[in-house]
Symmetry: C2
Subunit: 396 residues, 2 copies
Amino acid sequence: MRRMTARPGNAHQARLLRLLRDGGPNSRAQLGDQVDLSRSKLAVEVERLLETGLVVADGLAASRGGRRSHNIRLAPALRFLGVDIGATSIDVAVTNAELEVLGHINQPMDVREGPVAVFEQVLSMAAKLKASGLAEGFDGAGIGVPGPVRFPEGVPVAPPIMPGWDGFPVREALSQDLGCPVMVDNDVNLMAMGEQHAGVARSVGDFLCVKIGTGIGCGIVVGGEVYRGTTGSAGDIGHIQAVPDGRPCACGNRGCLEAHFSGAALARDATDAAHQGLSQELAARLEAAGALSAIDVAAAAAAGDATALDLIREGGTRTGQVIAGLVSFFNPGLVVIGGGVTGLGHTLLAAIRTQVYRQSLPLATGNLPIVLGELGPTAGVIGAARLISDHLFSPA
Amino acid sequence: MRRMTARPGNAHQARLLRLLRDGGPNSRAQLGDQVDLSRSKLAVEVERLLETGLVVADGLAASRGGRRSHNIRLAPALRFLGVDIGATSIDVAVTNAELEVLGHINQPMDVREGPVAVFEQVLSMAAKLKASGLAEGFDGAGIGVPGPVRFPEGVPVAPPIMPGWDGFPVREALSQDLGCPVMVDNDVNLMAMGEQHAGVARSVGDFLCVKIGTGIGCGIVVGGEVYRGTTGSAGDIGHIQAVPDGRPCACGNRGCLEAHFSGAALARDATDAAHQGLSQELAARLEAAGALSAIDVAAAAAAGDATALDLIREGGTRTGQVIAGLVSFFNPGLVVIGGGVTGLGHTLLAAIRTQVYRQSLPLATGNLPIVLGELGPTAGVIGAARLISDHLFSPA
DNA sequence: TCCCTTTGTCCACTCAGTGGAAAAAGTAGG
DNA sequence: CCTACTTTTTCCACTGAGTGGACAAAGGGA
């Protein structure tokens, strides 16, 4: 089946497509109210979009006291693929043109296996989604990788935790394999886009999205657009010094935030505590599973284990110190906390909040919500779908 | 005399005015090369600008082998006023439409005297510049104040070092007194704009401009535009924690960067060192002047005084630690160091560079220049003139 | 003087976009 | 069923920005 062959021919058409995508109005009249075009012009542009097949007019809406309007919507057969490659697992989802997740699967995978092995698995996951009847093909795919990306080319650069990926032409390779347009970005940026599109950050122009997983990163949104920095490494806050002369870090420095708090650091601390006999709860879990992860710490904390709670609080305090600095610097309208350790929940959030509200200036924190992400693991894949749809729904 | 009564009527005209301001080409043909308009359309827009009097066509340029071109330039009588209100002094300058400084005066003044007293002095300084024949009147004025500003309204908000200024309608008041349009911004942002327009940051899209004076602030430029944050306090890095459990700060916290290094902190440290007999050089200066300032420390350092050098190096290291974090986060293409303590020169710069290059990730620092500002005290006033000219050279 | 180059002007034409009128298709009430 | 009123959509003449080609103006070099 031929997929989405057309692109919007001008800015108006792109604007209309995005309005329709974002759950906007669906009659010509309602579209006209939002798009500041005369009805005549609007009708022309809609007509052209109908000709391309990107949108369809199916049926009539209920009357509101006058002539019934036509239902204008994005082509129901459009499908986007959202791929979120994490350090230890892969998420793949299919969405429709409105970016609603139709199917979502997650499989464990170590990125360090390299791009070839990873993409093989991604393709098999995509094939599985296709086989389940959710899609006949994909009109575009967004890919998130856990490291810096040279965005225009879609190529990872010097990724610390992804040996073998440096310079690999992800965009080009996947575009060939999938047979559709592909865009690549940092996983943290995609999470930010996901929360912006469908999560807690709707209608916020400037915000930070801190993702705490195996590592720590921060998505930066300025004026509704993701800011990527000069070389694409913006938001790499995992190696900001949180503790002077603190723990040695893989990057060669000491006291990096990531060395003191992250999924990996938390698991290590919990294991140490179990070995030292500080917590029966953790020791029991270590005994049972052979190794501890952040999830075990979350469970222990939920069971009221004091040691686990202390670990979370201390990590939250460290993270809060760093975020406090960023808040003073960036003066965001919102801070979103997400990633694998979101399971640590409100204990973590409270520690972060306390530290930020204490250390940052009142003018910056006065009206600053600090909240957990709302979408969990789907934030990344929704963000990925949004990335490619933003690309495709822009003038050719 | 009636001043600039007209504004560009559309985006093309605004574009042309800015091109002419920024020292661009000056014949219709050369303008056409840069502005992506047909010669016909361009001629029409230029004609309209000529009618408004904003630009003039005077004389013919030398031939380059064909018909000689007309010299198109901004009206030579246009004058902008740039005002930079610091914590302890005021800078006022007149510029022409190309933002070249025609006259510049500086006078000591304590902002804490309040807006009324300060504006009285600003007006008398402006009058002095007028009296010297540099201007017959002002077509617009830009004002920088040492604290956060609610930018759209031009009103300071909760300024820590400017009691009495909170909520004072600076823009409205000065606009009445001067009889011309006025724009107000944070002094640090104006310094960034100045260095961007005529200094080291030309042609850099994303950069940071750290101003170390009585306090410490940071101008943030994203995609060529100043980023001000949600409440206008972005860049307020003086109260980021630099030393855990460090010195008490006026803001109520401990260990703020500003408490450990700034013009004020440096003067205090130097005075302590002199009293403790650590430096004969500093003690002699204290004896002679009755009090020490950052300038004395700079002089002592230049004379080779070890204590002064140590103080500067330590301050630079602290500052470098904070900047290192910001570089990891923001991934700028350039870092500019400016403000009153620029006199500390390369000792300071070296300490900052060492710390940033050591602590930040290679991908962010790989091609990152860290340099001193090029314009010194004129950066602020040029930035101020640029602020108002950007405003006036935009469609009405 | 002839030919070439560069700059600037003129003019007919295209096309995006507007706004008003009218048609289409409904609801509500008698 | 008929009338009055709404809302949505279509139609169409008109405006005005912008284009591109032809041409005039003004110079240089052989």
